[in-house]
Symmetry: C2
Subunit: 357 residues, 2 copies
Amino acid sequence: MLDQTIKVELSTTKKQKPNADQLQFGKIFTDHMFIMDYTEGKGWHDPRIVPYQPITLDPSSVVFHYGQTVFEGLKAYVTKEGKVQLFRPEKNMERLNQSNDRMVIPKIDEQFALKALKQLVSIDKDWIPTAEGTSLYIRPFIIATQPFLGVAPSSQYKFMIIMSPVGAYYKEGLNPVKILVENEYVRTVKGGTGTAKTGGNYAASLKAQEISSQKGYSQVLWLDGIEHKYVEEVGSMNIFFKIDGKVVTPELSGSILPGITRDSIIQLLKYWNIPVEERKISIEEIYEAYDKGLLEEAFGTGTAAVISPVGELLWKDRKIVLNNGETGPLSKKLYDTLTGIQYGTVEDPFGWIVTVE
Amino acid sequence: MLDQTIKVELSTTKKQKPNADQLQFGKIFTDHMFIMDYTEGKGWHDPRIVPYQPITLDPSSVVFHYGQTVFEGLKAYVTKEGKVQLFRPEKNMERLNQSNDRMVIPKIDEQFALKALKQLVSIDKDWIPTAEGTSLYIRPFIIATQPFLGVAPSSQYKFMIIMSPVGAYYKEGLNPVKILVENEYVRTVKGGTGTAKTGGNYAASLKAQEISSQKGYSQVLWLDGIEHKYVEEVGSMNIFFKIDGKVVTPELSGSILPGITRDSIIQLLKYWNIPVEERKISIEEIYEAYDKGLLEEAFGTGTAAVISPVGELLWKDRKIVLNNGETGPLSKKLYDTLTGIQYGTVEDPFGWIVTVE
């Protein structure tokens, strides 16, 4: 499919672009979107870039009833020289297919999808904001569209890419967040869909998130669904701890999303010769390290915030404040380096950057 | 909201109704549908019955990305005398609100929703097929429609009811099914969304279902997600076993859907003075009962099939055949009684039937 031409229908009117200070995450979308269809027996077909527009579906479409969906999230950045850069986009397409496998959605041609993504970014490149810390958020996703109420994999799908200009996640520098350790609700369990980027995992998280917000905490730290003992993820990010000079993060045990930022941080730490371990980490261990004065930093990692320092943890009735509630030096260094690579101000020794012509 | 008028726009053209022998589950829909909208600050509003038609949504709508959905399923039946009957529809509306609570979706007015459902059924009553075992399947559902990529409860929703004429589930009488006991994939775990009727639970089930189909089994028997030891559900039905004269079914432990057919069967068994227990049931216990010659029957229960007898179980490498692969007398009696009440040929001592004028 790689050689297939993408039909392009340009928008005749251009929407007004928001000012840099009005940028909100995921509320405003660019002038165009990519779309292609899947029909059983025919495969993925009719790839096209069209003006951003609503989609029309039968109310019995599978996506409305049985949640057969997958998605990805990545960003395009403009360098000072005006170059448009993507960060490891091939990893997103690879993970999209891993999610597809778990959710019984037909695989896409990863190289073709990346070609389509680059062409779409190129067409809407004027939408990439240029102020510091801003970027263009890119959302590839697949939805099941067969009009049929049977519980079975859909015979029809739509693969779409939409894009939204987003502001700096931290307007006044890195800002440590308060995290509630969740004891009642669970995100997922081994054998479930936790390793896939699929809608149901996020829907499942809303209730605990709502309760933690009411208590004044901005995110939930998920524990494993079996023993409620081992740390899994924070909100929709992966989590790292620095204990006595060593960095630890939960291993990919079958219920954790294999984050691309997570993987990049592990590679970066190894490159810097900072010890890093992927393993089981109990919440008791974190609190014990704190009591011994060995818990130096904690941070979440993900595409949206890159690094999200943890300033406070509440587990049952016990609150602990990390690094005086301030961003630690390693969190800062990782943030500066990763965003530096993404914006082209720091050398990329890993070959992570892909340029859009 | 109960007194609010439902605006009705009747279809100017009527679709052709399928013949009784062409009826398939959930593929053909009636002439009309019910729809009402929710907007934060305004609540549920604009209830209306309109011609069945596609819906148009922004590609960034929450339902496409984060699976914030709930649904219900029930049926309308025509009696020999031409009366239109519903089976415990108030329980569906009650459960819809329980699902809403778990998925952080604003609650509906249950009585108003039931009024809307009855009005819709009444308008499309000619669509209820009359051949034996046929009925009109009714699907109320709610989808999150806010155009926003943030992981947060949507500020906008649509509540809809669509309806599909369906054939007899068993064309040649009750037909026992072959079931594979699933050891790798899990449906859900306590603290997850297993008690809610939400899309993600069904999406999560597709992979195991696909593998079991390839092995020649029609459904999966889910074990608990913690120890892979206790029986939970079969496919998207609840499960019952008859062991040594006593009926047992898994207790509602926080990961099982509280089925309305399940509840009706428990009430019916008690009414008949047949011992019935809701408790933890290990898969070992089932196999031990079989070895002692005490496993008399097993059956799934749900709205679609009512009773689905289990003819064979495969757990790891061990296959057991139940009741010679035939429908057991209790399964048959329960099926005949429940469907008899639904179609008005058997007296309803429980007040389960609601008539549509």
